[in-house]
């Protein structure tokens, strides 16, 4: 269980962005998070994954603080895959950075074996996004923060990506926080949904 308790956060130059945020993500649970641009959705996602440190409150994983090193059990999936890969690595090396997915898993995510010998620049955004999602699903992973991961995909690719992720999450009881502008998508994926505005979470 991933728990955020009374989180508060502000950037050095700004006013408080998040205040008193409490959120619980259980194993196998899908939670949706919406909000306007600049409301702090991605910041909350990065806090939960340990990329940022909150100024107030705490984040615990099964009652303990997030680990400092090693593969993080909470993985953050960013919106732009091309910024999260090394352009000098081939796709095969990128995919196997943390673990080696099986062929069946590659197939479920629609990753073509032909891509593995290519460089990331020669894949489209949607293709690279699927590689990045599968890369993040190493065996030790317990929770995923999916930050607008399907915004740039066409509808069919979007459905395929989410179905593959739902299957994988079901098999391994992953908890998933879906961050998106798209309320129709959140209604489809997440039984429990929150809207973030002026630093507060409201269920909808």
């Amino acid at each position: 269980m991933l728990e955020a308790h009374q989180l508060g956060f502000q950037f050095l130059s700004g006013e408080p962005l998040l205040s008193g945020i409490s959120l619980t993500l259980r194993a196998g649970q899908w939670v949706g998070l919406s909000g306007d641009s600049g409301a702090g959705k991605s910041t909350l996602g990065k806090l939960l994954a340990g990329y940022l440190t909150p100024q107030a409150g705490e984040i615990t994983l099964a009652g303990m603080a997030l680990p400092d090193s090693g593969i993080q059990p909470v993985q953050w999936l960013p919106q732009s895959p091309e910024l999260s890969v090394n352009p000098r690595w081939r796709v095969g090396r990128i995919l196997r950075e943390a673990w080696t997915p099986s062929e069946a898993q590659c197939q479920a995510f629609g990753i073509h074996p032909r891509w593995l010998s290519r460089y990331p620049q020669s894949l489209s955004g949607g293709e690279l996004q699927r590689v990045c999602v599968l890369r993040a699903l190493a065996p030790g992973i317990r929770f995923l923060i999916a930050d607008e991961i399907s915004t740039m995909l066409d509808p069919i690719t979007q459905v395929e990506l989410w179905q593959a992720l739902q299957q994988e999450a079901e098999n391994r009881q992953l908890g998933v926080l879906v961050i998106s502008h798209d309320s129709a998508l959140l209604k489809r994926l997440c039984p429990q949904r929150f809207h973030l505005s002026s630093g507060q979470l409201k269920p909808w």
Binding site: P155, I156, K187, R188
Partner: protein, 274 residues
């Protein structure tokens, strides 16, 4: 108004240093864009949407192999005519925001576009002022450099440039990527206004759902082929008035509709009606 007649495009791909192969990027595409309408070109990435726009503007790399004809206002549009009309009667709102000059303030860039369209220096400055006001870019944004603008503001600057150029045909390449819903609505409304003023607007996007409210016609592209052109109102209900299975699948994959991929079993029209 603008007609694309059996356009095919091949681009070289290098399999190794010395081995050149020709990749077919557009395959026998025929389309007509009518005056005063918003025509959406929808397709997955790699479908050839942007290449079609470059072919229309004459911006393809020199080694591209192009077959087929383009007609603008009933007359053949060849390379020299393209060069003459580009930036004047034909305008492209590019996908990449790096199309803005990083060293020049917003208003000067828009004034340049107006000068290219034939305005004298002073009237170009006035026209750029009006266009920027029209797209609700305040005095601060008008004096800003490109890197100081937000994504939505930069899109509106590019739209303002197309607006002052008096172009009769405006091609907008993925104008809403990375914008929040509010900004997206503003950009799309601006495009609809251009069409209502009697211009032809070609909207290139992968976002079928948000293109539909402002589009008159929708063309679905896939792997360089034009799959189907349908009026925007055909995209409703179960999508049964769409003739191709791919367009139906695209429509049903939207979260608002089925959120399913049903390419394997195309729904028979008759059974649904019955």
């Amino acid at each position: 108004m603008f007609t694309i007649d059996q356009l095919s495009l091949q681009l070289p791909m290098y399999a190794s240093w010395w081995k050149r192969e020709w990749a077919t990027c557009l395959n026998d595409v025929s389309l007509t864009f009518a005056t005063g309408e918003v025509h959406a070109l929808v397709g997955a990435s790699g479908a050839g949407k942007s290449l079609l726009a470059y072919a229309m503007m004459g911006l393809l790399p020199a080694q591209a192999r192009l077959q087929g004809q383009l007609y603008y206002q009933g007359t053949l549009l060849d390379a020299s005519r393209q060069r003459r009309l580009r930036g004047r009667e034909l305008a492209l709102i590019p996908q990449s925001l790096s199309a803005l000059d990083p060293l020049v303030r917003t208003q000067r860039q828009v004034a340049w576009a107006a000068q290219r369209a034939g305005h004298a220096t002073e009237s170009a400055w006035r026209a750029s002022q009006q266009a920027l006001d029209h797209y609700q870019l305040n005095a601060r944004a008008q004096q800003a450099y490109a890197h100081e603008l937000s994504g939505g503001m930069a899109r509106r600057v590019l739209t303002a440039m197309a607006h002052v150029s008096q172009a009769r045909l405006v091609i907008a390449d993925e104008p809403t990527v990375g914008l929040d819903p509010h900004q997206r609505q503003r950009v799309l409304t601006a495009l609809r206004e251009l069409a209502d003023q009697g211009k032809t607007v070609v909207l290139i996007t992968h976002d079928l759902r948000h293109a539909l409210p402002i589009a008159d016609q929708v063309t679905i592209l896939r792997d360089g082929k034009s799959i189907e052109t349908a009026p925007a109102c055909a995209f409703q209900g179960a999508g049964t008035s769409l003739s191709s299975t791919y367009s139906q699948a695209l429509w049903r994959a939207l979260p608002d509709n089925g959120f399913t991929v049903s390419m394997a079993q195309p729904v028979d029209k008759e059974t649904v009606v019955a």
